[in-house]
Symmetry: C2
Subunit: 294 residues, 2 copies
């Protein structure tokens, strides 16, 4: 069976890093593609006032080698972002909602309803350009401000994004508080409204639970997983939201279970190590540490 | 449902550390007990020539506050070790075999059969003193020298230790290479020969898989898990065998799944942090990092 990795390191990962050269981003994205990653979040067309680290997104998209087998994705919160994404010729765009009212307010300065309303024209224009739209829902297993989030809210927001035209909705455990049983129950509930092949999991590893949570969720047939090479990144607006799941560790598990990702784990680990060296950070992937030091 | 943590940090963890004061070991063991840990591997009565770090085991056992609800365990590879353990009044002893012939040779300088023969008089003398004996089997999901290990070998050695009188056998993924499906299949195979309530899991986190592997194995009803506070330790003789699973991360998952360990995760994290500070090491538990920094 084939499963898909949606690699978020170059965007979700690097957007928290104060100084990354455009060349380092381009190298990372190219090396991810060479390692066999087929879905790469490569850019974010948000206001450079809010996220200055992503101000070079158009240049990055221009300078990378466009591998025809790879889907390059960009975050676009509004019409201005979408226009930039269209100009950069991305393969898909993404919008982000939340299952938590408080998180929505703090993260994107509007209510859940307002954010949905804002996305409508973005999705409509994207459709006119045949651009697939991916949706994110944050806080599906807990919120840094509200604590527990009702599964019914996760279902409601996911359904909304799906109905509006998102071809896939990625369910984010933004602060990584989830545990396997709760993760599975949440996914099962959502999949009663939105078919499992339209859902992805974006679990953070803040409490070390991401891999166990994914493992528990595999029984639903879910087959798309967001992760970040060498565990780069997290969310700058969410208290305690450090720690993306390292793609290397996820791929190691999936391969060990007989699931095919098309990814060369050695090349992937080397790509991660290179960007970590450029950042002066240690590699947070245990697999990469084990492979590259032994 | 109640499950049990068998805490190995004070022995398996600290035996790789070149300089730990006796007082730091005593403090750690006392604080683990205060955090609600009920099974603590506290000492190792092996030759100080081989493991000088454990030469103060008798003093440690003498200086700790003996909490009557806690079982304090000690590693005893031979009769001399057992005599020292008896003198120190430990609550149980442990012996260690391997499912890998090559690992047995390199780790304890004898064949699997020879090691079993050596343990016989140890187990017999322990029985005369009503001292429970725990068995360890290493390399149950792979060997640093042989690679894959046949499940039939794991079954055979586990059964041998059980038949000889080990009340519990702990199955060690010494180099942490296992993944969930293989871990579950191995455990299911072993549990056909030795009842699941006589088995424990000792999974290392070298490749970040330990928690996912345990999660997958829970369906068998297995309820004893070896782990190490703040992820201390590994095996000094095994290539790539760094990385015990952090107890805090395991307890967080188990509690999140509604399983009771009796452990206060906050106190446990503080105990781990204190020993890490004493060692000048960073805390490898993600839960401890998340709890103590936010």
């Amino acid at each position: 069976m084939t499963v898909n990795i949606f690699e978020v390191g170059a965007r979700d990962g690097l957007q928290n890093e104060p100084h990354v050269s455009t060349q380092d981003k381009v190298t990372l994205i190219n090396e991810l593609a060479q390692a066999g990653v087929r879905r790469i979040e490569a850019a974010s067309f948000v206001s450079p006032k809010w996220v200055p680290q992503m101000a070079d997104s158009a240049t990055v998209m221009d300078q990378i080698e466009r591998n025809p087998s790879v889907q390059y994705s960009a975050l676009t919160p509004n019409l201005k972002g979408l226009e930039a994404a269209l100009a950069a010729d991305v393969d898909e765009i993404a919008i982000f909602g939340s299952a938590s009212e408080a998180f929505s307010q703090k993260n994107i300065n509007c209510s859940i309803e307002e954010s949905i309303a804002r996305f409508k024209p973005v999705i409509e224009l994207a459709k006119q350009h045949n651009l697939p739209v991916r949706g994110y829902v944050s806080c599906v297993l807990g919120c840094p401000y509200e604590g527990e989030i009702a599964v019914s809210e996760v279902v409601r927001v996911t359904e909304l994004l799906h109905t509006m035209g998102c071809y896939e909705v990625s369910l984010g455990d933004t602060i990584g508080v989830g545990t396997p049983k709760k993760a599975l129950q949440m996914l099962q509930a959502v999949s009663q409204s939105v078919s499992i092949d339209k859902l992805a999991l974006h679990f953070h590893d803040t409490y070390g639970q991401a891999l166990a949570n994914i493992q528990a969720c595999l029984e639903t047939g879910v087959s798309v997983f967001d992760s970040s090479v060498s565990g780069l990144g997290g969310c700058p607006y969410a208290k305690g939201a450090s720690g993306n799941l390292a793609t290397e560790d996820l791929v190691y598990m999936l391969h060990g279970m007989g699931l095919d990702t098309g990814i060369n784990i050695e090349k992937l680990s080397q790509a991660g190590n290179k960007i970590c060296k450029a950042l002066g950070k240690s590699n947070a992937s245990k697999v990469a540490q084990a492979i590259l030091t032994h």
